[in-house]
């Protein structure tokens, strides 16, 4: 492990690490003296390096020519992204020479870059803006006409290209070559006439296409979904875990008082690296108010629907449950957190003395699929967590038992913890039909589903909070437990499954300390939790590129 000096500070880096990795983290850095204490934030060498084309998740292109550093004994400036640290190397990137090179490098980037910022979605999180503020020349001398290229090019179903804004860092091209391996993009023509593009009928259309928008340091690639909907400075953000499938990608959700607007991936070496799939980026949609149940709804014996507050609705339903004795069943989808399962299953087992708890499997056929990169066939974020809780309480049931129970009348009342991502529940209508055989159906549901109106007999629909509105833990396909915090509240009166379970069991709502779930103790010591995993905001806070 070579030892080098970066801006006067001695550091030890991993073998084969490049200078830019040593300076920006990127998995190559280790502190020099004491061994690292667990939980301690890894220190990076000081000094920012301007750069565009280097991305820790992609190969080195070395074309933006901004990350120059001075190496002692070498008269020429060297690019930090392609220079491997050797023993005793003395690196400096604070000298005037380096600063001048970055200044002019940025000016070269900008001479043909249009002044589109007012209508550019990237404005506010743009690499050019941020880095020019930090390293720029501030007296542009370009007085000639700019090169005209194509604007608003439709690259595919998800992405729009603006060639004039493109700085040809080739990140997106490398992404389609190396990560998605779909090879849709290319750089055509040469010199300053070069343009990114697709060829004719082969559009940029893959399951990871929106990552190109994330890694684009400028506004050349913009997402059709997010385009023009908000200026980024109106958005707040918070980290959470994607609930789109059992991969459990770490994501950052962007929202403001009008609702959620987009989701971007957050680096986590163990789970998703730097990427996430396009499907997962759509999941913010059902969270928004217009798609949610805001009030509890009740219908007695197929009559008209009443509306009431969610808590009142749950209390109302509690009475029915009490009267059903042990003919009560609970149906759980893999969409809730471990803590919630723990609480509601505990309530059922202890209060109702019922072990009629059933797992609603929405994708029995594709359960074990994997596309080789991120997407898992199991479209629930927490199936593993649900199984663990059920196992702990000794519940062993199958769906056919529920169907039998409904048929022979041994199950009269059913509590259903309904799904959040309706798009992954193609069997929703079927299951509603099956469950409508029960006398009393208490359906806990977050997004609206018109099919629930089909339920006959006595029905309670109780609004639930979605995954961004609560703290909790998901256990992904690999058994990795990921804790996440509440992002924001969209429907404040909605209930969590814990609260609903308590109310249904006839308890009052109490503010309880967080449950110490079973998995806490079982976690291997070296497991990195979401909250203290290594932070690399590289892509998603572009200002700090």
């Amino acid at each position: 492990m070579p030892k080098c000096t970066i801006n006067g500070k001695e550091v030890v880096v991993k073998d084969g690490a490049t200078i830019i990795e040593a300076m920006h983290g990127g998995g190559a850095y280790e502190t020099s003296d004491e061994p690292q204490k667990p939980g301690e934030k890894k220190q990076w060498a000081e000094g920012k390096v301007a750069h565009y084309c280097w991305h820790p998740g992609l190969s080195v292109a070395g074309v933006c020519r901004l990350c120059f550093v001075e190496i002692e004994g070498n008269p020429r400036l060297q690019i930090a992204c392609n220079t491997v640290v050797t023993e005793g190397m003395k690196i400096n990137n604070t000298s005037q020479k380096v600063k001048d090179s970055a200044k002019w490098g940025l000016d070269f980037h900008l001479i043909n870059h249009p002044l589109d910022c007012p209508i550019c979605d990237q404005a506010g999180e743009c690499g050019l803006q941020e880095q020019y503020m930090e390293f720029g020349k501030y007296n542009p001398e370009m007085a000639e006409k700019k090169v005209k290229k194509h604007k608003v090019v439709d690259l595919g179903p998800t992405v729009v290209l603006d060639s004039e804004r493109c700085i040809l860092c080739s990140r997106c091209v490398r992404f389609t070559e190396e990560v998605s391996k779909t090879n849709e993009l290319g750089i055509f023509n040469r010199g300053d006439r070069s343009e990114i593009g697709t060829f004719d009928d082969k559009k940029l259309d893959n399951k990871y296409s929106l990552n190109t928008v994330d890694i684009c340091p400028v506004g050349a690639l913009t997402s059709k979904d997010f385009r023009f909907r908000q200026r980024v400075w109106y958005l707040k953000d918070a980290e959470t875990v994607c609930n789109g499938c059992s991969a459990g990608c770490n994501v950052r959700a962007y929202f403001n008082k009008e609702g959620f607007f987009r989701v971007k991936p957050v680096y986590n070496e163990e789970v998703n690296g730097y990427w996430m799939c396009d499907e997962g980026r759509d999941l913010y949609k059902f969270v928004n108010r217009e798609n949610r149940y805001l009030k509890a709804r009740r219908r007695i014996s197929g009559g008209a629907w009443d509306e009431m507050l969610p808590g009142a609705g749950a209390k109302d339903a509690a009475g029915v449950l009490k009267s059903s004795g042990d003919a009560v069943a609970l149906v759980l989808t893999g969409q809730y957190t471990v803590e919630e399962y723990e609480s509601i299953v505990g309530n059922f087992v202890n209060e109702f003395k019922s072990k009629k708890i059933y797992h609603w499997n929405n994708n029995p056929k594709t359960e074990n699929d994997f596309d080789g990169l991120l997407i898992r066939g199991d479209k629930n974020p927490n199936t593993k967590g649900l199984f663990k809780v059920l196992e702990k309480h000794g519940v062993k049931t199958s769906w056919s038992e529920l169907e039998a129970g409904l048929g022979n009348g041994s199950i009269k009342s059913v509590v259903v913890a309904g799904p959040e991502n309706l798009q992954f529940f193609p069997d929703m209508a079927d299951k509603v039909k099956t469950l409508s055989k029960a006398q009393n159906v208490i359906w806990l549901q977050s997004p609206r589903f018109a099919g629930l109106d089909e339920l006959k007999n006595n029905v309670w629909i109780i609004p639930m909070k979605s995954y961004v509105e609560k703290d909790g833990t998901f256990i992904n396909h690999a058994g990795l437990e990921q804790k996440f915090k509440r992002v924001t509240t969209v429907v404040s009166e909605a209930l969590t499954l814990t609260e609903a379970g308590d109310l249904l069991a006839g308890h009052h709502l109490l503010i309880k300390p967080a449950l110490n779930t079973l998995v806490e103790a079982e976690r291997p010591e070296d497991r990195v939790m979401l909250e203290n995993r290594k932070k690399n905001e590289f892509v998603f806070r572009r200002g700090e590129l």
Partner: protein, 175 residues
């Protein structure tokens, strides 16, 4: 907080002299105005209106292009800059790729507006201006929420006001 001492001297207890002095001034102006009506300070509003300087910063105008469409690109800089938070913009994608982005909704709440002119300053395309008009009548609160129709195409503007900035020239030079 400043404290104003009440004048408690004897003479102030007699109000009549003061009133008379005041009335004297009133009658003096009355006489002056009657004799020389041209120099009269007051106006017969609303029949007569005061002519402000053309640079007066009054009600907002959204300027238009040659073809009569809005210049505004919905960049939201005015809304971001507005200290009274009275501007609401909803952007959308335009069919014409050379326009790209335009506002489908642009509302200024005139009752919240403090007429500071920051929106004008912030605008990168000279799309919002503060015009010389200052009358803002309305019978209820909703009347003061000016939309695009009111801001750009109100009758006084005679089909919209054009900016002096020439887009074609700018485009030719790649701006």
């Amino acid at each position: 907080m400043s404290v104003v001492q009440k004048n408690t001297s004897e003479t102030t207890k007699w109000f009549l002299p003061g009133i008379l002095v005041g009335l004297g001034i009133t009658f003096k102006h009355l006489a002056k105005n009657l004799l020389n009506q041209k120099k009269m300070m007051t106006l017969n509003y609303p029949e007569q209106k005061y002519e402000y300087s053309p640079r007066f910063k009054g009600n907002h105008i959204l300027t238009v292009k040659k073809d009569g469409s809005l210049r505004c690109t919905a960049c939201m800089l005015c809304a971001t800059n507005c200290p009274a938070e009275c501007i609401t913009i909803v952007a959308s994608e335009h069919e014409d790729p050379s326009v790209e982005k335009y506002p489908i909704k642009y509302e200024i709440d005139m009752l919240r507006c403090v007429f500071c002119g920051f929106c004008e300053e912030a605008c990168p395309v000279d799309a919002v201006r503060m015009g010389p008009e200052w009358q803002t009548p309305g019978v209820n609160g909703a009347n003061f929420n000016y939309g695009i129709e009111q801001l750009a195409y109100r009758p006084q503007l005679k089909g919209g006001m054009m900016s002096l900035v020439d887009d074609e020239e700018r485009h030719k030079y790649g701006i």
